[in-house]
């Protein structure tokens, strides 16, 4: 891994870490923009596949950065990207966790709870739409996304079952 690549990985994911308000998925559009269109570490199609792998695999879906780092600079890149993504926000949360417990009725706590949540919802929806635009190419894929969304929203079914079913539907040639 070249020093420049290491620096870019630290900068991209360290920044993404601090900007990922509303969870890791909110910076997926930003990571896609930089990793695909600016640094060319991977193609848009590869990015969509990696997104799917990280979503379906156990653990936090933010481990998409592990795979992006792997594409950029192999195993070392994978570990560096993961650390860069987790450390800055983790330190912030740690400091926050300590002060939060002493501020049950403070105005800032109420403002944080109510003011940032709607922005986060917009970002999460945007991440779904952005990936759908690069990944879903056929009407049958859109239909599959719509059906799976409906199932996720209305039932308590383990998402893995739906993901596996979708894989089977795709494998059988219907997506």
């Amino acid at each position: 891994m070249s020093l420049l690549t290491a620096l870019r990985i630290c900068l991209l994911f360290g920044t993404a870490s601090l900007l990922s308000i509303g969870g890791g998925n909110s910076v997926v559009p930003e990571m896609q923009l930089q990793a695909v269109q600016i640094y060319h570490w991977l193609t848009a199609a590869q990015f969509a596949d990696i997104f799917a792998i990280a979503q379906a695999a156990p653990g936090p879906s933010i481990l998409i950065v592990t795979l992006i780092g792997y594409q950029a600079a192999g195993f070392a890149g994978a570990l560096l990207a993961t650390a860069a993504m987790i450390l800055p926000a983790g330190l912030l949360v740690y400091a926050f966790a300590r002060s939060w417990q002493h501020a049950t009725h403070a105005p800032w706590r109420i403002a944080f709870e109510h003011g940032l949540a709607p922005i986060a919802v917009g970002l999460v929806l945007a991440s779904g739409v952005v990936v759908a635009r690069t990944a879903d190419h056929s009407w049958s894929q859109y239909a599959l996304t719509a059906a799976a969304t409906f199932i996720f929203c209305t039932t308590k079914l383990n998402p893995l079952i739906v993901v596996a079913a979708a894989a089977a539907i795709g494998w059988a040639g219907f997506a």
Partner: protein
């Protein structure tokens, strides 16, 4: 909603760092395909009794609005509560160590087989379903948070600039986050 003061008067729960790491490892492995936050609550609140439901839910809210992956943040939060800095580190490592190996393994398999047409066809299905996970999460969280005009405006603006215009996140949040905090600051009878 918070009329009862929830001072943790009773003895705080104790856990070793190893226990924290193993517990979060179990949570991570249970979440194959998603549902990580549901599993976190199940284990942290019901099985371990490390937090009450109220405390867990407000911790979830913080972890959602603070930057960082929600579940990683939650591990930091729970670990910090039970065992300070070393607890936070143990919980995070427990949560991600094995999943990192799994995700890299899946990624390698993908590199070896991604040109196989049937693997590509199956992946098209998986991608379609994983997009659905994001969409349904937006729906579920939106149903709880978008209850008046203010939140709807914040939601619509952030979606529009992130998905349609594709503005980089930093300038967008620099404008939008202060607006959100200003709107939600309890000056009068907010909400």
């Amino acid at each position: 909603m918070n009329d009862a003061a929830l001072e943790p008067a009773e003895a705080p729960p104790v856990a070793s760092s190893l226990e924290l790491a193993l517990t979060f490892n179990r949570i991570a492995l249970a979440s194959f395909g998603g549902g990580l936050s549901a599993w976190s609550r199940q284990v942290v609140v019901e099985e371990r009794g490390w937090m009450s439901d109220e405390e867990f839910l407000s911790a979830m809210t913080i972890c959602r609005v603070l930057p960082g992956a929600n579940q990683v943040n939650l591990a930091v939060f729970v670990g910090a509560k039970l065992r300070g800095a070393s607890g936070a580190l143990a919980a995070v490592l427990g949560l991600i160590a094995l999943p990192i190996a799994i995700v890299l393994g899946l990624g390698t398999l993908y590199a070896a087989y991604h040109s196989d047409p049937s693997v590509q066809a199956a992946l098209r299905g998986v991608v379609a379903a994983s997009v659905a996970l994001s969409l349904s999460m937006a729906y579920k969280t939106g149903r709880k948070t978008l209850r008046s005009a203010g939140p709807w405006v914040l939601f619509a603006v952030s979606f529009f600039f992130s998905a349609i215009v594709r503005v980089p996140l930093l300038p967008m949040l620099a404008v939008l986050a202060p607006l959100g905090l200003w709107w939600a600051w309890p000056k009068r009878q907010a909400t």
